[in-house]
Amino acid sequence: MTTPISVDRVAFRRGAQDILSEVSLSIDAAQVVAILGPSGSGKSTLLRVVLGLVAPDRGFVRLDGEVVSADGRIFRPPEERGLAVVFQDLALWPHLTVRGNLAFGLAAKHLPADVQDERISRVLRRVSLQGKQDRYPANLSGGERQRVAIARALVLEPRALLLDEPLSNLDVPLKRELLGLLKEILRERRVTAVYVTHDLREAMQLAHRFAVLEAGRISQTGTLDELFANPTTAFLRALREDVDPVSAPTSV
């Protein structure tokens, strides 16, 4: 079985600045990998490289074994990658209703209308938004918008779902509620997913594996236990102390 997403020695520069350097990562089927890192570490850029929105200057990106980007070239543009994304700002199209937002990608794939209707109804039910398909995003609550964004990505039945800090601007109860929903959906549908965040507590709810990205380099990968057994960087030690204060060095 091939690996759904594989990133191999990817480098990306913007001007004179190295945004990503020698980043390698592979994500197995039905696995959720969290990419953790401080602000400006290159997390979102890595996601954009995988999505095909930018080409890596060096290195390869493979989807199900096929090279889709390599060495400054994009062989498969984002339209052909079969991925789905939820951005931090959600990017719900304000001029389309909830149904219009969900149907957009399905129509682009030329699916028959009855298949579109069936899929949209099913996904809206799953995220508890049935009856709201004719609303515009402006007329939804913050939590409902998040659900629409998740539903819009899932309705496509993508080969992998990429989430770029989708819950970072929410209050704690709403975040907890949506994390629960997301966890259930990812598990029951066995979705391969990449979850980008700087919040370890969020990532712990969802991810099977973790990759720590610092200054454009992957500093450590593994399960949470593996990471915490031997944290190699100050960022990781700080994360560990944040979720497990007992592990913090005692000050005198």
Binding site: L53, F104, A108
Partner: protein, 527 residues
């Protein structure tokens, strides 16, 4: 094979669309420059007289005088526009929105209409004049500079106001905690708005150097008029006109370089990228004075309409006979050009905002065509299109449309680029990830999302085409004179009340277009 071809075509949608727009721009705007440069380099026999002319002092004297006066107009516009932009853009002066609209309105009119209005106020038989002194002052280089400065100052005002409205309010609030309004204005706001003011000054300089109507009406010699005269029946000497464009061409290139250096790379931040809220600087006890100054400045640009209205009221019975098909000849090519330009702006403006390959070069071409004096562009357009095989274009309104596309492409393009740059790139990126190719994204996402900007782009292009005199006067087809040409022609020998009334007709058309546009632009809440 078919699937492979279909995939290739889908991937090529975006470069093909940009290529099509680029080709249109190259035909309309670049070919005239190529014609000028090639002919100047080849220097055929007919140019020898022109080259001899450039060897004399006279044209250089007029050229330097025109450049000098354009410089003074630009500086004076900045002097008026910067404080007014500050007051009307981000302070709490009373009725600042209304004052800004009234102040900016004359920008959408040909400046010679304002000169006509000032003439009916301060001319020999004017409403408030009647003396040799006021008339002499108006019909002088100083008068021409003053009229143009007042006509063009709103360009600076509006750019500064727009830039200030885009500033993050927290920057001002942080300064207000420690400083008085005056210090906040001079130390925080004006420096932040400086690139917009500089851009305004640059645009005003280009417009003033291009200006034909005001110096012609006020009997002031200008370099643009000298070029224009050599394309007319009396002094017809196209070779001389071609040679005379050379110094102006160099100025255009210098302006392009200056624009690229000053604002080009950061034109979006200059015009308020991603504003998060409205910046309001309370003036405190200075509010009444601020209100007075703001309204005085705003109304000063409207005084000429008093003169026009007064003169028109003295006898307009024959307007219908004099107007002919001028209104139709103005509106039809302006509407066609605006529609074409808006379509081009959607593709090119988006490409500029998203930094697509080739977009920067096309953007530079639109800037070059705009800052180049219309007389220069006009000579090039005549050279390219006045041939036996192209008479179906040169002999019809199509040539005016081409001239408009060449000269005004930058305005709707930058308007649309600004709208795209302000929006989250994720709207379109999400659509791409969902499998929508360029054309589908354009039609289903980009156009509806930025419908307001498209209306604004169309409107801006339309009113600038309507106000145009310098381009159309060079090659309007016989019997198809637009209203601006008709007014300036009649001004020399037609009845004054009728000319004033025609000026008001033009003003009303522009005002109606702006009101309709504003109604269409009004954001609607989706239920």
């Amino acid at each position: 094979m078919d699937r492979h071809l279909s995939a290739t075509l889908k991937r090529a949608q975006e470069p093909l669309a940009l290529g099509a727009v680029g080709s249109m721009l190259i035909v309309a705007a670049l070919l005239p420059f190529v014609f000028l440069v090639v002919n100047l380099v080849r220097a055929p026999a007919e140019l020898s007289a022109g080259l001899a002319l450039l060897g004399s002092r006279e044209p250089w004297f007029v050229f330097l005088r025109s450049v000098g006066s354009a410089l003074v107009v630009a500086l004076a516009s900045m002097l008026v526009g910067m404080p007014l932009g500050l007051l009307l853009g981000c302070t709490d002066v009373r009725g600042r929105k209304a004052a800004l609209i009234l102040h900016v309105f004359p920008v959408f009119l040909p400046p010679f209409l304002l000169a006509l209005g000032w003439f009916h106020l301060f001319g020999r038989s004017g409403l408030w004049g009647g003396s040799e002194w006021t008339s002499g002052a108006l019909f002088s280089l100083g008068g021409s500079v003053a009229v143009e400065a007042l006509a063009f100052a709103p360009v600076v005002t509006s750019l500064v106001a727009l830039a200030l409205q885009g500033i993050d309010p927290s920057l001002v609030e942080a300064a207000r905690v420690t400083a008085r309004p005056g210090r906040v204005a001079t130390r925080i706001l004006l420096p932040l708005a400086w690139p917009a003011a500089a851009l305004g000054g640059l645009v005003v300089f280009a417009l003033s150097l291009s200006e034909l109507g005001v110096p012609m009406f006020l009997r002031v010699r200008s370099y643009s008029a000298a070029v224009f005269a050599r394309l007319g029946a009396v002094q017809y000497a196209p070779g001389e006109a071609l040679v005379l464009t050379l110094p102006m061409l160099l100025i255009s290139i210098a302006l392009l370089v200056l624009e690229r250096r000053l604002v080009g790379p950061r034109s979006f931040s200059v015009l308020g990228l991603r504003s998060t809220g409205k910046t309001v600087l309370p003036l405190g006890s200075w509010r009444p004075i601020g209100t007075l100054v703001a309204w005085a400045g705003a109304l000063a640009t409207l005084f000429p309409f008093v003169g026009l209205a007064w003169r028109a009221s003295t006898g307009t019975a024959a307007v219908q006979d004099w107007i002919g098909s001028g209104v139709q000849n103005s509106i039809v090519p302006a509407a066609i050009a605006a529609t074409l330009l808006s379509g081009m702006a959607v593709v090119l403006g988006r490409a500029i905002a998203l930094r697509r390959a080739g977009a920067k070069a096309l953007d530079a071409l639109t800037v070059l065509a705009f800052v180049t004096p219309a007389a220069v562009l006009g000579v090039g357009l005549i050279g390219v299109w006045n041939r036996s095989g192209t008479q179906p274009i040169y002999g019809t309104l199509a040539i005016i449309v081409i001239g408009f596309v060449a000269r005004y492409a930058v305005l709707p393009t930058r308007t649309f680029a600004l709208a795209v740059a302000r929006a989250s790139p994720h709207f379109e990126e999400s659509a791409a990830v969902e499998g929508a190719w360029f054309l589908r994204r354009l039609v289903r996402i980009v156009v509806p999302l930025h419908a307001g900007a498209i209306v604004a782009a169309w409107l801006l292009a339309f009113v600038f085409c309507l106000r145009d005199l310098e381009t159309t006067i060079l090659f309007y087809p016989a019997g198809s004179a637009p209203l601006t040409v008709r007014i300036i022609t009649l001004e020399a020998n037609g009845p004054e009340p009728v000319v004033a009334a025609l000026a008001l007709v033009h003003t009303s058309i522009v005002a109606a277009a702006l009101v309709l546009g504003a109604l269409a632009f009004r954001p609607r809440r989706r239920a």
